[in-house]
C-alpha cells in the first residue's frame, strides 16, 4: 500500500499549494517542480504576484468563470494514477429507499405468490413491526430498448434510454437504518465520521475550476436528506474537500455575499484591497511561512467565487427547449429538474463531483422515498418528480458530448422488501438494491448481478458499496488501494480493506 501522500508530519494544508510542498513529500515536490530548495522564496513571490492578477479573460462563448483554475487555486487539478475514463461525477441519490421490485427488478413471482408467506429465507428482519406476506407490485412492467430491459410504469421517460444505463441488481448493504446506510454508501462506513466519496475524489483529483467549489451538493428543495451534512462531510480529510451546498434560496453558497445593509459590493472591494496590503505587509515580516500567502490567495479566490457562483446558477441563458427537456415547465418536475440542469452547468464548469438528493426528511414520511405506508402513493409521487429530469440530464449530457467524460451513479441507501408492511407499504431491505450507472464509456443496457426469485436478497455477483466505490475511482483514473490519507495511525482508504472492481463496468 503506497500512500498517495504522507501528511503525518503536518496538519497544515496550504490551499494554493496542496499539490506541493507539504502535501506530497517534499522531495517529490521539488522533483515535480523541477527546482531546488532555493526556489522557495521565488515561488512565494511569483504566486503573490499572480494573486493580484485580473481574472482570466472572457473568450467568445466561454464565460470567465468556466475557465481553467488559476495557478493558486486550492482545487488545483492533480494527476490521477492512470489514464481516466471519466473526469467528473454526478451522483443521484434517492433518499429514503427505492424499491427495486417496483422499478427495475421485475419479479413475476410476486404476482404469482401475492399474499403468501415468504419462508425458507431465515429470520426476516424488518425495521418496523412485523413482516407481512409477499406483495405484488402495484406497477406494470414492460421491456424497453434493444436490451429489452424491464422497467415499471414509474419511469416512462427513463425507459426510453435504458440502453445507456448499466443496472446492478445485486447491491447489498450492512444496515437497515436510513442514516447508517446513507453513511455506508456515501462514506464507505456505517459509522459517522468518515470522508464522503466526493471528498475522496476531490482530494485525489482537485477540480477543473478554481473559482467554484470542487464538490457541490444540491439537495431537495423541501430540505436536506437523512443524516444531512454528514453525507458530504470531509471526515478526517482536510475541510477543503467537503461538499459545498448550493442552496435553492438566496445566495447559492452560504455567506457568498454580505447583507446589503452591512456592506455593499463596492465597499467590499475597497476593504479587500486594504486587506491585501495589510496581509502582504505581515507576510513580508514572516518570510517562508506559506500559510500566510495561502490565506492572501484565498481572499482573492473568494472574491472571484462571488461572481462565478451566481453565474453558475443563472439559468437565463438556457433555451426554452433545454428547460423543457429537464421538465422545468411543469411544477411537478421543476424542482428536481432545476437540480439536474444545475448539475450539468456545474459539470460544464469543471466541478469535480456533483451530488443531487431527491427526498427531504423535513417531512420524512411524505417527502422521501421511504414507502412504509404505501408503495403506490409514495413511489408514484417521487418517480414522477425525478423521471423526466434525470432523463433530460442524461440526454443533455450526451448531446453536448459530456456524458463520455462524466460518470453518473443513481442509487438509494437500500432497496425495499418484497413482502408487505401493513398491507400496502414495504419496509427497508439492505439485502438487495438495484442501482444504475452510465456515462464514462460504460456499456449501456447491461444487467449486472441478480437478486433471488422475489428480489429479497442479492443472489448473483453480490456488490458492496466498496465495489461501487472502487469502480468509480477506477473510472476516474484512481486505484482505490493507492488513494490514502494518514489519520490516527493508519493510511485510510475509502474502501477500507475491501473493494473489487465490477468487471462489466471497467471493461473497455
Amino acid at each position: 500500500m503506497t500512500p498517495l501522500c504522507d501528511n503525518r508530519e503536518s496538519n497544515r494544508l496550504e490551499g494554493h499549494r496542496q499539490g506541493g510542498r507539504r502535501f506530497i513529500s517534499r522531495r517529490d515536490f521539488w522533483f515535480n517542480a523541477g527546482m531546488g530548495l532555493g526556489g522557495l522564496a521565488l515561488v512565494d513571490l511569483l504566486s503573490r504576484d499572480n494573486l493580484l492578477a485580473a481574472p482570466p479573460p472572457t473568450t467568445a462563448g466561454q464565460p470567465a468563470c468556466g475557465g481553467q483554475p488559476i495557478q493558486d487555486s486550492p482545487y488545483l487539478a492533480k494527476k490521477p494514477h492512470f489514464k481516466p475514463r471519466a473526469k467528473q461525477v454526478i451522483h443521484l441519490f434517492m433518499s429514503g429507499g427505492v424499491s427495486q421490485v417496483d422499478t427495475f427488478d421485475y419479479k413475476p413471482d410476486l404476482w404469482k405468490y401475492h399474499g403468501v408467506a415468504l419462508e425458507g429465507k431465515g429470520e426476516i428482519r424488518v425495521r418496523q413491526g412485523y413482516p407481512g406476506p409477499l406483495m405484488k407490485s402495484p406497477f406494470e412492467f414492460k421491456q424497453y430498448g434493444q436490451s429489452g430491459s424491464w422497467v415499471s410504469s414509474l419511469f416512462p421517460n427513463l425507459a426510453t434510454i435504458v440502453d445507456d444505463l448499466a443496472f446492478i441488481h445485486s447491491a447489498v448493504g450492512k444496515s437497515n437504518d436510513h442514516v447508517l446506510s446513507h453513511y455506508e454508501w456515501n462514506t464507505g462506513s456505517i459509522l459517522m465520521g468518515f470522508p464522503s466519496v466526493g471528498a475522496w475524489v476531490t482530494y485525489g483529483l482537485g477540480s477543473e475550476n478554481g473559482n467554484l467549489p470542487s464538490y457541490v451538493v444540491i439537495y431537495d428543495r423541501r430540505g436536506g436528506p437523512f443524516s444531512g451534512p454528514t453525507n458530504w462531510h470531509a471526515g478526517f480529510l482536510p475541510a477543503s474537500y467537503q461538499g459545498t451546498v448550493f442552496r435553492s434560496v438566496g445566495d447559492p453558497i452560504l455567506d457568498l455575499s454580505a447583507p446589503p445593509q452591512h456592506m455593499s459590493a463596492a465597499e467590499e472591494r475597497r476593504r479587500l484591497d486594504q486587506l491585501n496590503w495589510m496581509n502582504q505587509n505581515h507576510a513580508e515580516q514572516h518570510p517562508g511561512v506559506s500559510d500566510l500567502s495561502a490565506r492572501i490567495a484565498s481572499y482573492e479566490l473568494a472574491y472571484r467565487m462571488q461572481s462565478c457562483a451566481p453565474e453558475a446558477v443563472d439559468l437565463s441563458s438556457e433555451s426554452d427547449e433545454t428547460k423543457a427537456l429537464y421538465g422545468l415547465d411543469n411544477p411537478v418536475t421543476e424542482p428536481f429538474g432545476r437540480q439536474c440542469i444545475l448539475a450539468r452547468r456545474m459539470i460544464e464548469r469543471g466541478v469535480r463531483f456533483v451530488q443531487l438528493y431527491s427526498g427531504s426528511i423535513v417531512n420524512q414520511n411524505i417527502d422521501t422515498w421511504d414507502a412504509h405506508s404505501s408503495i403506490k402513493d409514495n413511489h408514484t409521487m417521487h418517480a414522477a418528480e425525478v423521471d423526466k429530469p434525470i432523463t433530460g440530464l442524461i440526454t443533455d449530457l450526451k448531446r453536448r458530448g459530456l456524458l463520455d467524460e462524466t460518470a453518473v451513479l443513481w442509487q438509494s441507501e437500500f432497496g425495499r422488501m418484497p413482502i408487505s408492511q401493513r398491507a400496502l407499504g414495504r419496509d427497508h431491505n439492505p439485502g438487495c438494491q438495484t442501482l444504475w450507472m452510465c456515462g464514462a464509456g460504460i456499456q449501456g443496457g447491461q444487467h449486472i448481478g441478480a437478486s433471488d426469485e422475489v428480489g429479497y436478497k442479492a443472489a448473483d455477483q453480490i456488490v458492496w458499496n466498496h465495489d461501487v466505490h472502487a469502480t468509480l475511482l477506477h473510472l476516474l483514473g484512481m486505484d482505490h488501494k493507492r488513494l490514502t490519507y494518514y489519520f490516527n495511525g493508519r493510511h485510510m482508504r475509502l474502501t477500507d480493506v475491501h473493494g473489487e472492481l465490477i468487471p462489466q463496468l471497467v471493461k473497455a
Partner: protein, 950 residues
Amino acid sequence: MAVHLVWRTGLFTWIRRAAPAIAVGLGGAALLTTVLTAQKAPATGAEVRAILEKKCSQCHSQALQMGGLDLSTREAMLKGGAKGPAIAPGNAGASTLIHRVTGRVAPKMPMAPLPPLTDAEVAALTEWINAGAHWDPAASAAPQAKTAPTPAGYSNELRERAFTETETKWWAFQPPVRRTPPAMREERWAHNPIDQFIKASLDAKGLRPAPKADRSTLIRRATLDLTGLLPTPAEVQAFVSDQSPDAYRNLIERLLGSSHYGERWGRNWLDVVRYADSSGFEHDRDLATAWRFRDYVIRSFNNDKPFNRFLVEHLAGDELPGDDLDAKIATAFYRIGPRVRFREKDNPFYRYEYLDDIIRTTFQGFMGISVHCARCHDHKFDPITRADYYRSMGMFFGFVNYDHPLMPEDKVREWERKTSEVMRAALPLKQEVAKIEAPYRKALFDAGLAKLPDEVQAAIRVPAEMRTPGQKLLAAQFERPATGDGDPNFMGDDPVLAQITTAGQRAPNLIEGPRTGGAMRRGPELVKVNEADHARRAALLARIAEIEKQMPPTPHAVEGVRDGDYRLAPDGPGDEPSPGKTYRPDYPDLGKAYLPEPGSKYEVPWVRFGANGLVVEDDNKAPVVPAGYLRVLTKDRQLMLAKPLRPDYTSGGRRWALAEFIASPDNPLTSRVIVNRVWYWHFGRGIVATPGNLGKMGTAPSHPELLDWLATEFIRQGWSIKQIHRLIMNSETYQQASAHYDSESANKDPDNIHLWRFPVRRLEAEAIRDVILSASGKLNLEAGGPPFFPSIPPSVREGYRQGKWLLTKEEPATWRRGIYSYWKRGMKYPMFEVHDQPDQNVTAEKRNITTVPTQALTLLNNEFVLIQARHLAERVVRDSAGATDEDRIRALYRIALSRDPNPRELERQAAFLAAQRGFQATQSRPDPALAALTDLAHVMLNANEFVYIN
C-alpha cells in the same frame, strides 16, 4: 429453482445430498449447522461435543485451559489437566468429567453462573463414555464449519503470538529516561532544561535561534495561548512598561490564574475526548447533561487537577470512594461519543461499536496507541493482538448507562426509595385506568380496521387458527401494533425501574389526562368515553395525581455510567423483539438485574473473543477472554484490581484498575502523550508530530530526550499541567520572535521542526470567533451552564432537521465563548466547520489548518463578523485618546493587534480612512466617519496578523 415457496424443505433435502462446501457457498452457513448437528448419531460424539461446547468450552478449550484442561478433543480429554485424565473410556463411573458434572466431586462443574448440565445431558455423556467415547475425527471439523466468518470478516479463533524483541523494545514502550540537560554556555540558553535541550539540537544542526520577541508580541502570544482572548490595551501597556525582572514570569502566573485559561485548554481536551452535545446518527438526540462534563473539564484545568486523577475520574469516577460529584460527572466520558440510541437491545452490535469507540478514545487519546486497530486482526505494525483488544474490552465491559443524581449517595438512596414507593403505590391505579381504557382502545382498533384493504380485513376476520401463513402475517401487523416505536420517552415494562435509572429526565406519564368532554386521546384520534367510565377514570387519575404529589423533587443528574448488566437494560425505543425470536439470546452468564443490588457481589458480564454482537449465537460459542492489560506493557501480568472494592457499592473494579494502569507513573506512554500534546498546543507541532500515535505508524520524536525529560518532570511535579506551561512559556525557546528570517536555517529546516523561530499559527475555529468578540468588546463572559445556539440562517437548519437546534439572533446572549456553543454532531455551526473544527466522532489527534475561499467568504460576509466590525468601530471611537484619524488608528491597533502602528501603517491607514469617508458620503450611509472606521475595523478582523498567533 423450480419450487419457489417450499424452500425450507427443498433446501434441506438438497443440502443433505450436497457437499457442505457447496452449501456454505450458498450463504447457508447457519442452516448448515442445524442440518449437520441433527444428522450425527450420538455414537460419533457430535451430541457430546455440542454439550461440551455449550457448557464447558468457556473455560476448557484450546484457547483457554482452566486447570490445564482442554475438552475440545478426545486426545485432550484423555491427557486431562491438573487433576488427571477427564475420561476413562468404557467406564463413566471412573471418569472425572462425570464426577464433576454430577457434583460427586466438588466443585461441581460448570461453575456458576453457567447453568449445570441437565439430566439428559449427563445421561448422554455417561452413555458416550460407557460406549467407548468414540470420536469421529471427520466430524471434528464440524464445529469449525459453524463459525463461518460473519459479513464483517471476523473470526473467533483465539490466537496469541509471541512478540519479537524489536517490537517489545520500541522506544515508546520503554520507561522515559531522565537525562541531565546538556550544559549551555550562553547565558540565554543555560537556565531552562527545555532551552538546554532545544539549543543543543539547534547547535547540532547548525541552526541559529531567533532573538527574543518584543514585549507586545509576547503578551499577545501568551494571552492568546493561555486564555484564547486578546490582552486589553491597558494590560499590554502595563506589561510593556513593567521594568521588573519578573514581569514576564508574573504575566504567565496571572494568565494561569485566569478562569479563561480553563475555557481555552479545556477546549483542547474536549477534542481529545470527542465531546459533542448531541448523539449523532439518525436522531441526533440532545445529550442534555453533556455540558456538565464540559464544565467539569474547564474546572479541572482551572484547578490544575492532577492529570492522573483527572484520567481516573474519566474512566472510573463512579467507582471511586467518597461523594465527589465531579468524579461522577467525569464518567460522562463514556456517554458523549456518537451513539445510535435506537433499538440498541435488538441490535447488540451497537454496544460493540460503542465499546470500540471507548477503546479507541481511551488508548489513542490517553496513551497514544491504536488498540482499536486490533479489533478484527492483530495490529499490523505494533505489538497489539486481538486478544489484547478483547482483554481491554473486558476492562470496560461492565458499564451501563446511568444518570447519576448529583447529590450525596445516601441522599440518592433515600430519593430512590421514596420515588419507587410512590410509583409502586400509583401502579395498581394506573393499571386500573388501563383496564377502563382497554375497550375504547379496542373500539378504536375496530374502527381503524374498516379502513384497511380488503385482504387485511379478510385475514383478521378469519379465526386465527384457520389463517394461511400469509394471513397470519397480515393480521399480526395490525393486531399487535408496535409499541414505543420511535418514541424517545418509551421506557418499557417496568416504569419504576426505568424512571429511577433516568433520574433527571423522568419519563412522562404514558397516558395523558382527560381532555375536554371526556374524550381520550390516542395518537391523533379522540374517542368518546361514556360518563361512568369517564368519572371512574377521572377519579383514578385524580388519586394518582394525589399520590404523585408525594414524589420527591427530581434531582439534577448527569448522564454517566456505573457497573451493571447491559443486557437487562430497560427497553429503549423500538426494543421489542422480532416475532418468533426469544427476547434475549440465551446468555449463560446473565445477571439478575440491570443494576446490581447493593451488598451483593457484582460480576462483570463475560467478554467473548471476537464477539461483535452481529450474531449473538455465534458470539456465545467463542471463548471467554479474561479481562487484562496490554501484554506488551505488562509482560503477561495478571489482572490485579487496583484497590479493595467499596463494601457499600457494587462494581467490578475493572475500570478503576485500568484507569490506575493508564494513569500510573510506570506507564511509559501516558505522561509522554500528555506532555507532547501540551507541547503541540503551544507550538502547533508535537515533539512527536502524531500526538495520537506513538507507535510505528506515528512519527519519530524530533527531540526524544526532551520528551522524556518533560514526561518525568511532569510526574515529579504531581502531574501538574500548569507546571508544564510554566516550564514551556518561561523558556527562551517559547519567547523567540516569529518575525525573523534566516536563509541558512530556512534551508536546513524549512518546516521549523527544530524551532529556530517561533512558529506562527492560525487560531482555531472557536478562538477566531472569541477574539473577534474580544476585539469588539461584546464578548459575553457568562461561564458554564447549558450551551447556547449561535445564530445560523434558517436555511441551514432546513438542510438538517433532526435533533435539537434553536434558531437565535445575533445578540449578546449568543455572543458567548465558542466552547459554550452547542456542538451538534449532525450539523456544525458553519463558521466553525469551515475553520476546521474537527470531526467529533473520533478522538481528534490534532486540528487541520486548511486555507480555503469559503473561510474568507465567512469572515467577509457573515453577519456576525459585520456586526462585530461595527461594534469594534464604536469601541475605537470610545477608547481613542483623541478624535483624529491617527488617534483612532492607534486605538484600533492597540485593541486588535496589541501594538502601535508604525509610521508607514499609520499613514496608509489614514489615507484609507480618508478615502473611505469620501466614498461613504456618496453611499448615503448615515454616519460616513463611523462607516469608514467600520470599513477599517472589518479589514482588521480579517487580517492575517489578527487571526494568527505571532
